[in-house]
């Protein structure tokens, strides 16, 4: 018997791995020191733990410990990367290129620096969510200092061709930042082979704790610098001040270590489960999978069920914890801007559900989810006059609705 509700919203946040919690606990209790205390063992023990965690984090993404700046999470990392580069490279230029499908943490930050004189190009993506590389290259101007393109999309799971993007950035001497919050720990991400200059990611999306994340900042070829956005004691080599969240960092490190060990196993298992779920649901009439299916995170699928309203659908399948977009925007009833960027109309964007599987998702749960979703969609469609019209063969797109 499965335990309800079933959690299929692992793109919003993941439960903490018990191994992570276990690693963290001693740093709340007997090893509680401030990592910046240099005069006594309480401080040294905390600092050693942070150094070790930094190594675990660095190993997962293929960089050195000194290139890992610890933050309070991916949102802060994105803020630091974009604002930090904008301020540090002001002499060189003020132009930044990003995508319309980025997370709010990138988009809102870009909107903010526009008010301070930045010029930002928001590139549309193709219908499958992939960036058009020729368009990207054409958007580069002599004033371009940064390309910020996410690694894997949080709503549709589409994974960009990061290496090709970084090649273009390199060719034009432009820095490349990627928001890899959904990808690190799920698929192989390597800052060297991927040619990444700055990268944001966080603990709680990979079975680690909330309230901790990191920004990778390249130190060689080229040496990248960012202007600090929080000043104080000069922690994190001056790039991010504030007492280090030692237990959080230890947990983040452990989550990275586990990810390295379990990634392959997890992704094979999860993509099989995801395919099962997606296969079953996309067999339903008038259901569409959103985004590129080749270049995609193994645990994510986003499906639109035409003639069904997403919020209503979520209400109708209370046994499933899923979302109709990103958690960060889910309080609003606006249709997903990511799906609209793919060219979906409001109705179809409104009728989409994101399924995010995770390390602790079982096949039983997926089977239950399939049944539950099918039943809910069918039930709602039975009550829908639009569905009835569709079944009667009326071309819905040709109907002109009267204003009222």
């Amino acid at each position: 018997m499965v335990k309800l509700p079933i959690y299929l919203d692992n793109n919003a946040t993941t439960p903490m791995d018990p191994r992570v919690l276990e690693a963290m606990l001693p740093y709340f209790t007997e090893k509680f020191g401030n990592a910046a205390s240099r005069n006594h063992p309480f401080g040294w023990v905390a600092e050693e733990a942070v150094d070790y965690a930094r190594e675990q984090i660095a190993k997962l993404i293929g960089c050195t410990e000194k290139e890992v700046i610890i933050t309070s999470g991916a949102t802060e990392s994105n803020n630091l990367a974009i604002k930090g580069v904008f301020e540090m490279y002001a002499q060189k230029g003020n132009h930044i290129i990003t995508l319309t499908t980025e997370h709010k943490a990138v988009l809102d930050t870009c909107h903010h620096i526009e008010k301070q004189g930045a010029e930002v190009t928001y590139l549309d993506v193709q219908a499958d969510g992939m960036v058009d590389l020729a368009k990207l290259e054409a958007a580069i101007t002599p004033k371009t200092i940064l390309i910020s393109i996410m690694y894997g999309n949080n709503e549709i799971g589409v994974v960009q061709e990061v290496k090709k993007i970084s090649d273009i950035a390199r060719k034009h001497g432009v820095l490349f930042h990627t928001d890899a919050t959904q990808s690190v720990g799920k698929i192989p991400v390597n800052v060297e082979t991927d040619g990444i200059d700055l990268m944001s990611f966080s603990g709680h999306k990979m079975y680690g704790p909330k309230g901790v994340g990191a920004l990778y900042v390249r130190r060689k070829n080229p040496r990248v610098k960012v202007t600090a956005q929080m000043d104080g004691g000069g922690h994190e080599r001056g790039m991010r001040s504030g007492t280090l969240n030692v237990p959080g960092i230890v947990g983040f490190g452990k989550a990275c270590e586990i990810a390295m060990l379990d990634m392959e196993k997890d992704s094979i298992r999860l993509s099989a489960l995801r395919d099962k779920l997606e296969g079953a649901l996309s067999q339903m009439e008038e259901s569409y999978v959103n985004g590129n299916k080749e270049h995609r995170l193994p645990h994510t699928t986003n499906i639109s069920f035409k003639y069904v309203e997403g919020e209503g659908l979520m209400m109708a399948m209370k046994d499933l914890a899923v979302s109709s977009g990103s958690a960060c925007t889910s309080a609003s009833l606006e249709p997903s801007y990511v799906l609209k960027s793919l060219g979906l109309n409001d109705d179809l964007a409104h009728s989409s559900i994101r399924f995010g599987l995770g390390r602790f998702t079982t096949e039983e749960e997926v089977d239950y989810a399939i049944e539950c979703t099918r039943n809910a969609v069918n039930k709602l469609r039975e009550m829908s006059p639009l569905w009835e019209m569709f079944k009667d063969g009326i071309d819905m797109d040709s109907v002109e609705w009267a204003e009222h």
Binding site: T75, H112, G242, N245, G248, K318
Partner: protein, 379 residues
């Protein structure tokens, strides 16, 4: 050998009750508070209840409490956003503020956005309020940042008095209350302060979480963008267990406040007496008067000797953890900016001992005995 921890101004051990509550959240309440399904709604409720707890203790409204990643972020947010959003061109602070305040203001000064004035300090290191008034009277609308208690020497400012002065000159008043939150009662229905800050790990709560109080008359825009969290004031998935721990830590601190204040002040006075009685030439940095001094901090000034530089090291060898100044700058070789500012003689060695509810009189005896040994042998 039992280790003795007297560096509670750097960070404190977490209260077991706090950890228990956090552990439960970490294990069972893992949702993202922005998700609209039950996993999300459950943790949203937890966060809002924590906010209510904090607000109630401080006698203010939950709408004025904004959770952050800690004290440094809260200070940065108050300073940067208030100065930027209100078009402030003049700021007043003191030379003994925490680096989270001084460095943030210096950056704004360097960018040419503000003129920065430092209020004079008297011989004990207290803010000269007459000078503060002069600075306020002779400049445009000012931003004032003065910490409630100094983290190195423990000097307290009179929050009510400074608040009244700031109000008289229509200044925006920010006070870094990281060292006093949970150690004194802050009645925000009476205090004329626009911003105060908290770092949970200074009051037996977790690291990585704090809050900024923003008075309802002040409207600022966020510092960290992206997402509608904290009522559009602070983007980023909330550190749910951290917030839970913060609220619990503050609740415990308030419930036991008087008892602990008496107890810890007792330890501090006892140590002061013992040092005076046993070590000739001993002195103290900052004010010792309990009305004007944080009861958790005692900054001891040892007579000049060859032992000076080695004191902390020798204490550590004996299992005693103290500090030379703030943890945040203890890695650098630069002397304490606070001691320099108050004119403490540089040939004397300063050691900060900072206490908490878990320390005992017996521990103080051991420390004083050790100090006697270390200092007297060498003189």
């Amino acid at each position: 050998m039992n280790k003795i921890y007297l560096d509670n101004a750097a960070t404190t051990a977490i209260d077991k009750e706090v950890l228990e509550l956090m552990k439960n959240t970490m294990e069972f309440q893992f949702g993202n508070p922005s998700s609209i399904h039950s996993h999300g709604r459950e943790v949203r409720t937890i966060i809002e209840n924590a906010r209510k707890t904090v607000a109630k203790l401080l006698n203010t409204s939950p709408a004025e409490i904004f959770f952050t990643s800690g004290g440094t972020e809260a200070d940065n947010m108050a300073i940067n956003c208030a100065i930027n959003d209100y078009g402030i061109t003049h700021a007043i602070t003191s030379k003994i503020e925490h680096h989270a305040v001084i460095h943030t203001l210096e950056v704004l000064e360097k960018k040419g956005l503000i003129k920065l004035s430092y209020v004079n300090l008297d011989e004990k290191g207290h803010v000269d309020t007459k000078h503060l008034e002069e600075l306020l009277a002779n400049n445009e609308r000012s931003f004032v940042s003065l910490m409630h208690a100094n983290n190195e020497i423990g000097n307290l400012i009179d929050l009510e008095k400074v608040g009244d002065i700031c109000e008289k000159y229509n200044a925006i008043f920010h006070s870094d209350t990281v060292q006093t939150m949970g150690h004194y009662r802050h009645d925000l229905s009476k205090l004329k302060v626009h911003f105060i800050t908290c770092a949970a790990h200074k009051l037996h709560g977790p690291k990585g979480v704090g809050f900024l109080y923003i008075n309802h008359n002040i409207k600022i825009k966020p510092m960290i963008h992206g997402g509608a969290q904290e009522r559009n004031m602070r983007g980023g998935t909330e550190n749910v267990y951290g917030i839970v721990g913060l609220a619990k830590a503050l609740e415990i601190a308030y419930a036991e406040l008087d008892e602990h204040q008496n107890y810890i002040q007792g330890l501090k006075s006892y140590m002061t007496e013992q040092l005076l009685a046993n070590i000739p030439g001993i002195g103290f940095n900052g004010d010792l008067d309990s009305k004007h001094s944080l009861y958790t901090v005692l900054n001891v000034s040892f007579p000049a000797s060859e032992m000076g530089e080695m004191l902390l090291f020798s204490l550590d060898i004996s299992g005693i953890s103290a500090s030379g100044g703030s943890a945040c700058s203890s890695g650098s070789n630069v002397g304490s900016h606070v001691l320099t500012a108050i004119g403490s003689p540089s040939d004397r060695a300063a050691v900060r001992f900072s206490f908490c509810k878990y320390n005992t009189k017996e521990e103080i005896d051991i420390v004083v005995e050790k100090l006697k040994e270390l200092v007297l042998v060498k003189v």
